[in-house]
Each structure stands twice: as structure tokens, then as C-alpha cells.
Subunit: 152 residues, 2 copies
Amino acid sequence: MAKNRQIIIYGVALAFLIFLLKWLEMRFIIIDNQLELYAGLIAVIFTALGIWLALKLRKPKIHTVIVEKEVFASPNGDFTINQDELRKLNLSKRELEVLQLMAEGLSNQEIAEKLFVSLNTIKTHSAQIFEKMEVKRRTQAVEMAKRLSLIP
Amino acid sequence: MAKNRQIIIYGVALAFLIFLLKWLEMRFIIIDNQLELYAGLIAVIFTALGIWLALKLRKPKIHTVIVEKEVFASPNGDFTINQDELRKLNLSKRELEVLQLMAEGLSNQEIAEKLFVSLNTIKTHSAQIFEKMEVKRRTQAVEMAKRLSLIP
DNA sequence: GATAAAATCACCCTAAAGTATGACTGTAAA
DNA sequence: TTTACAGTCATACTTTAGGGTGATTTTATC
């Protein structure tokens, strides 16, 4: 089959390599090499057998059936910020504000414009946020904030 | 680099096998009356090699079946993915996978390592995701995904 | 077997994010 | 009034994200 091209190519390459090896040995070492040829042949044959076995015994494709008919409960509209966690993290008011805007997917530039401050200020705030929350990226900060109910 | 990984693996494997073969030959010279054992060993090793190769190259991808049965007003606790929205966005399985890892706050590099593919592949996927979701940034994609219940 | 979609990867380049450091100001607490 | 801190901003630098393009290979489907 054409779709197993890679396997066939590798198999042929392996066979070729082994035969090349044997040929080289025959060229320079004048000994009884029948045995080595025999071994090489076995190797090639059983490699092929292994490939064949694996392909043959492979599990058939799983048919995916997606059943629908779902009824969703409307998410509770009441959100209360977790003051405990907020205090633990020791985030300032401004930092929480920046964090919320981050969670809305705004860029630092957009946050800066929204809060009427400079981009550098937002960078400083975000760096502070990441340090306090012990995360490395804004996405992690947002994930954590949602998990801790610091943000809806 | 990811592009050289397979080549390195094959090279090392091949080198190891040849070395093993030589070692077996040396052993055989000493114990020269066990031809069957020698041949058998080679057969087993190379059958295993063949199976390993086939499995490695064929990448037996398991379809992640998401069967969804009539859920009545699921309360807070378990999460059911919104198949309708998912179909509307036309996100592929892989793209959804990447999106989920994004939502966990992983960087593209980390996602690449987790999924055993290259960074460029993840970039391509994420670009596709942003285009399909009509967003500009990963944070927006995550926000939207959570809002649409594509992600817990 | 042809075809389409999905997945993979590369290269180049720009934009955005993040790090590190230092500095200035206003306010509130000690 | 000194101290501490929040908030502001800057400059320089590194890293990560994202855009655009093109290509190959798998996989599914007709």
C-alpha cells in the first residue's frame, strides 16, 4: 500500500545498510561469512515480519459518534470575589484592576489606554502581579485568578 | 530541534543494534555450537525492531470520542463541552487540544513539548485558532473559549 | 485513485510581552 | 517626620507571540 511508504522506505534502507555492511566485511575480511549473511537475512526478514505484525494486529479505527441533545443550566449570575485569596496574594487595587482587564483578553497597550496610563506602567504592574501570584505569564495569571475566584 | 529528533533516534537505534549484533557474533565465536540461539535472538530483536518501527511511524492515533448524553441542567461541578459552539467554530481536534493547553497557561514552546511536535506547528495551529475564532490574541481565545463552554 | 481536510514543519519578519533596574511622587501609617 | 508602599514612568534588553507564506505528509471520503 502506498500509505506505508515511510515504513517501506526505512525497511529497504535498513536492508540495504545491512547488506552493505556484509558486503564490506566480505571485501576485507576473508573468513567464512555464510553465517553473517544468514544472520543479516534473518534480521531483514524478521524486521519485515515485525512491521507486518504490527500493522496487521493494529487496532481498527474507532468510530466516533457524537450524540447531542444537551440541556444547559444557565451559569449562575452571582459572582462574589474571594477576598481571602485576594488578601493572601496581597494584590493592590490597581493590580487587580489590571488583572481583570488581562482576563478580558486586552493587550498591555489596550489596558494602558483604558486606564489612561503609559504602557510601561502596565508592564510594571503586570510584572508585580506575576511575582505576587508566582506565575510566569499573563495566561497563567488569568487561569489562576479564575480558579481562585478573583475574577468572574 | 524537533526536526532532527527522529533521525537521531533511528541513528542511535541502528548503531545500538549493529553493536549488539557484533557482540552476539563475538559471543557466538566463543560458544560456537548454538546457532539456533543466535538466530533466534536476532529474530526476536529484529521482530521487536519492526514492531517498534511500525508503531512509531504509524502513530496509532486514538480518536478522542466525546460521547455526550442527555444532560439535564448540569449543576456546578462537572463540565460538558458545548458541541454546538464547537461545530460552529469548526475547530479541529488538534486545535481544540492546543486551545485547552493555552487555557492552562502554557507557552507555545511548552505545548509543543507536551504534544511532541515542533514550535512551528503550534504556531500554525494557534494562528488557525485565532482566525477561526476571530480573535487577535491567545488571551482572547481563552476568554471566548471559556465563555462558550468549549473549555472548563 | 482522486480529492479535500488535517497535521506537520520551515523561514522570515514584526509586534507584544516580559525582565531588570532606577527614579519620582503622593499618601497613609508608625 | 520618617517609613513604607502604591502608583507612575523610563530605558534597555530578551523572550515569546503572532503574521504570512509555502511545503510535505497523513487521513478521511467519495
